[in-house]
Symmetry: C2
Subunit: 148 residues, 2 copies
DNA sequence: CTTGACCTGTGACTTAGGTCGAAGGTTTAT
DNA sequence: ATAAACCTTCGACCTAAGTCACAGGTCAAG
C-alpha cells in the first residue's frame, strides 16, 4: 500500500496529479485508511503506469479513461462492445505506428546521408530526406574548392 | 502558388493556423504578391504536410521547428550538429515506436482474447491483457450456468 | 461597384493537462 | 509536542496549440 506521496514519488509525478486523476475518474485508490489517507495497491500502481505509458504514446486522458472503463464496466457490457472499442484503439495505434515508421525511415536516411564531420552542412538536404519517400541521398564535401 | 485560403483548404486547416505558424517561425510563405497576399509554393505545401505529419506523431511545434531549422541554417551549421540533432530525434522516435508496439501487442492480445459476441464481457480481462507482458489470455463463456 | 478574400494588429477565449497556493483541519513519526 | 505529510475545498494560474472576433483597410472578380 502506497500513500499518495509515496506513489507519486515512485512514478515521478506530482501528488496533485494523482488527485487530478482521481477527480477525473482515471485512477481511484483502492482503499482509504481510517483517517482518510488514499491507499494505493500494487495494482493501482500498475494502472497508473499504464496511464503514463498510454499518455506517452499520445492517448488523451479521455481515450485512456475509455480503455480503463472497459475493465470497470465489463460485467455490464457485451464482448461485442469491448471488442469494438479495442479494435478501434488498435486501429489508432496502427495508424500512428505507420507514421512513426515513416519518420524513422526518413530520419535514418538523413542520419546516413550526413557525414557528421566538422564541415558546413550546406550539402545536407534534410527536407529532401524528410519529405521524399524515395531514394537515399548522400552528400560529398569537396576537399578543396579554393584550388580548383 | 496558393493563397492562404487555398492552402488552408487543401490541407484542411484554418487560415489562422497558417498565420500562427508563420508568426511562430514554422512556415513562412515563400513570397508575397504585390498587394501583400501570402503566396505558398508547392514546396511550402510539402513543408506544411511535414509539419502536420510530425504533429500527428506527437512532435511539439518546438521540436518541429528544430527539425525544420536544420534546413534553414544548414550553411551555418556543421554536419556534426545536424547529425547530433537528427540522431536525437531518431532516438525519440524509436522510444515512441517501442511503446507503441507494446500497445499494439497488448491490444491485439486483448482483441484475440475477446470473442466479440453478445454475451457479458465479465470474463474479459482488459487490464490483465494490457498490463501483462506475458502470455495470451482467452476467456470462455459457460453455456448454461443455471442448469449446472 | 459591391462582395468576398485578403491584409494588419490586438486581444480575448478555448481545451487539455496539469500545478500551486491558501485556509483550516487531522495524523503520524520522531 | 512539533514537524512533515496527509485531508478537504476553492480558485488562480500555467503552457501548448490554436480559434475567433473586431477594427480599419486593400484587392480582385463578376
Ligand atoms: Zn551533413
Ligand atoms: Zn557532411
Ligand atoms: Zn470478451
Ligand atoms: Zn466473449
Amino acid at each position: 500500500m502506497y500513500k499518495i506521496g509515496e506513489l507519486a514519488k515512485a512514478c515521478d509525478i506530482n501528488n496533485d496529479t494523482l488527485r487530478f486523476y482521481e477527480k477525473n475518474a482515471l485512477l481511484c485508490p483502492s482503499t482509504r485508511s481510517e483517517s482518510g489517507y488514499r491507499l494505493y495497491t500494487e495494482k493501482d500502481k500498475e494502472t497508473l503506469q499504464f496511464i503514463l505509458r498510454a499518455k506517452g504514446v499520445g492517448f488523451t486522458l479521455a481515450e485512456i479513461r475509455e480503455l480503463l472503463s472497459i475493465e470497470v464496466n465489463k460485467a455490464d457490457s457485451a464482448c461485442a462492445d469491448v471488442k469494438t472499442l479495442v479494435d478501434s484503439k488498435l486501429n489508432d495505434v496502427e495508424t500512428k505506428l505507420a507514421e512513426l515508421i515513416r519518420f524513422q525511415t526518413s530520419l535514418k536516411r538523413l542520419s546516413n546521408a550526413c557525414c557528421g564531420g566538422a564541415e558546413s552542412a550546406e550539402h545536407c538536404t534534410i527536407l529532401e530526406a524528410l519529405e521524399s519517400d524515395t531514394n537515399d541521398v548522400r552528400h560529398e564535401h569537396k576537399l578543396n574548392d579554393k584550388e580548383s
